[in-house]
Subunit: 248 residues, 2 copies
Amino acid sequence: MKSNTKNLPKCQDCLIRSSSLFGELETEQLDKARSLRSAQQTYEAGEYLYHEGDVSEKAFTLYSGWVTLFKNLKNGDRQILRFALPGDFLCYKVGKHKVIDHSAIAASDVTLCTFPIDRFKQTIAELPDLAFAISSVTETTTQRCHSALTSIASHPAETKVAFLLLSLYVREMSLSKGAECVPFPITQEDVGDALGLTSIHVNRVFQSLRAQGLIECKNRCLWVSNKKALAKVAKISLPELESLMVGI
Amino acid sequence: MKSNTKNLPKCQDCLIRSSSLFGELETEQLDKARSLRSAQQTYEAGEYLYHEGDVSEKAFTLYSGWVTLFKNLKNGDRQILRFALPGDFLCYKVGKHKVIDHSAIAASDVTLCTFPIDRFKQTIAELPDLAFAISSVTETTTQRCHSALTSIASHPAETKVAFLLLSLYVREMSLSKGAECVPFPITQEDVGDALGLTSIHVNRVFQSLRAQGLIECKNRCLWVSNKKALAKVAKISLPELESLMVGI
DNA sequence: CGGGGAGTTGAATGCAGTCAACAAATGTGG
DNA sequence: CCACATTTGTTGACTGCATTCAACTCCCCG
């Protein structure tokens, strides 16, 4: 991990601000909020950002790259809770019990903006809108968690895989508009760990989706030529999907 | 639904306050916070509190009874997201997109304290601690969602059912200490809808758990004589389980 | 007493897991 | 730049858990 505390890039010019916590604030409020940030950090793929059981002292806005959030299970498996994408707000915890319930690993090389959590206390007193911005971002995360839960509980593996791929594709696409494919730095085993499937079965589903011409996935990139067709397999309507992307 | 706006019981004396949103506040702060509440409402079992797609205008603290939160699926099934128990804070949503992503039905007769959401804006400006109280409660909910996700994704049905029953039992027990059984107003089909299993298979698992002497379930009540043994089947340690109960 | 919801049982089907081996891609050091 | 090691992806055969369908019982409530 490398940390940079000097000459931090300005939030005003930030390319991903509209999809991040500070995207919820008016530009004139950024002056008060930007002092929250203490550093910009980079992690290499595979590095831990934090561990399950840690006491949270810093929150992060993911600036670039993907982060995998997961819990370790008794039997040695791990359950991936979600993949964080640029704009995501991680590890904010202010309750009395600030022990983090999951771990986070950089799925690719990542850059983060870092916020010491204790600074939020005072800033929120001066800038109540920040509290609502945090609530808003949290609500989106919860909504995604609900979708994940719903998708995982529903039975056919093809549906689950299609839903996950489509969600990630749409979110990435909204960040890098115009590109014909999106970065996809995770493995089939990761997909399995996220959906409660074996990597072997994920592989078979990938092949089936590929055979149907719905996805192409190589060189750590994902192509989806026909979103509507994939949405049909994922058993979700496109408007419904978009509503998951709003807010952040 | 019946609504009572006069002579509301005092928050100071509330029996479930310690496990609710206001349990996060100091008693001297309750004076400022109590004006948030507009009414106490009762719903009969089966009544909707709100529907997926509604715009949220009121938040609720569940005072007594259980509420089922769920999403309707394309194929007519429904996915239960969680069962809300007394003390739970429901339907708070302040983001720009205030459309609720799930529906809520009273699982039993319930009593709720009702809070018009627009009142929060001003109160938080005067009482920043309220913002942290809300965050704290939200964090607990998210943590439970993570546990649910993890439990549902892990494979054997017996584990999932045991985990759900144990969680509900422990939470209810912490509310009604001393009792030898807890209210259990939901059906086996509800359990199935929560875990992504058929009611038939849930039934078989119930029988197996009963045969092992781990649970007893009749007259809308649940007995768990040996928490530790059930926790073993649920593949969770008791300390781990308790940590899910903290905060609210 | 009759009806409907909830729970129970059995048999047959099928989706996804397991095990084992191999192929392809990626990364590392000599 | 090649040789080797490791990770990731692919294939096949076999097993088993959970679903499906259908019938039946129990119990509560009007």
